[in-house]
Symmetry: C2
Subunit: 172 residues, 2 copies
């Protein structure tokens, strides 16, 4: 997608705007949307620095590792109540193997022993089910959008509360 | 939300399941969905370890910082073409201030000078617009779901390709 966006990087896309107008006029080029194969008309700001990937792909990779972490927590909590032996084995494994890289964690767990392999297979299934069924995608979007607005307001309010600069200087 | 999930943690929720059945029977308790105020019937796995927050809130915080990083890249790319002085100032500031904590970065940038403050305000507006309009939420869900399935398949295929354990041991 980055390439498709990059292909729209033209003089008309990168606008001449004043300090008073933080937002550039939106471009009207067509590009593929990576969420569907068909072409749709959309207006996007050019996002550099993601190589061959896209911001959505980068965020998806972070979420993928996050889902693995969540799946480990889910399985760990389930085992605690009905399989204390497996729970102890998973706890012991967690002490020496970080979950930062979810796939590496699962690959290592799978190769520890046949019992650990059963745990790894469950974690793989749980992260898939969690991603598909349990994770509240609409809620993620709502919370992230709300957070941006709230943090923006807080940042500006905190600044204004401590500054004595006259408004005329704000756009200098 | 975590509290609401935690309230469903009961003996009926944490099941007695066999090693051959990685997934517990789904609970049928009602809980509020945090994506809407109205109550809906849903079935969720209990996710521990998020304190007062929820997995969605945790993921939203990560996305919030990610959107700030993207907004900085967008503004930097725009400035490069039409305001080389401001671009140089932002580049210089970036050399000494990490964007890991997006809000702290913006707060520091806002207090550097009145010119830096104009950049900070633009970054705040761009991250808001990017989150609302440009970020492809459906694509994020599609890519993350696809990634989980592909990585699960790869992990199991890689393991099977190097193991000679008989199937009987898989569930031990």
């Amino acid at each position: 997608m980055r390439n498709m966006i990059a292909s729209t990087e033209s003089s008309s896309f990168l606008p001449q705007i004043s300090q008073h107008s933080p937002f550039p006029p939106k471009p009207t080029q067509r590009r593929n949307t990576t969420s569907h194969s068909k072409q749709i008309k959309c207006q996007k700001m050019y996002v550099p620095g993601f190589g061959e990937a896209s911001p959505e792909a980068k965020a998806a990779k972070h979420l993928h590792d996050f889902f693995t972490y969540v799946a480990v927590r889910i399985v760990d909590a389930q085992l605690e109540s009905y399989n204390t032996e497996a729970h102890a084995e998973l706890q012991e494994f967690l002490e020496t193997h970080p979950v930062n890289d979810g796939d590496k964690f699962c690959a290592d767990l799978m190769r520890e022993s046949s019992r650990h392999k059963a745990l790894a297979l469950r974690i793989l299934e749980v992260r898939s089910a969690y991603c598909k069924n349990d994770f509240e995608w609409d809620n993620l979007k709502r919370l992230a959008s709300q957070m941006v607005e709230e943090r923006n307001t807080t940042l500006m309010r905190d600044y204004l509360s401590e500054t004595i600069l006259p408004t005329e200087n704000d756009s200098s």
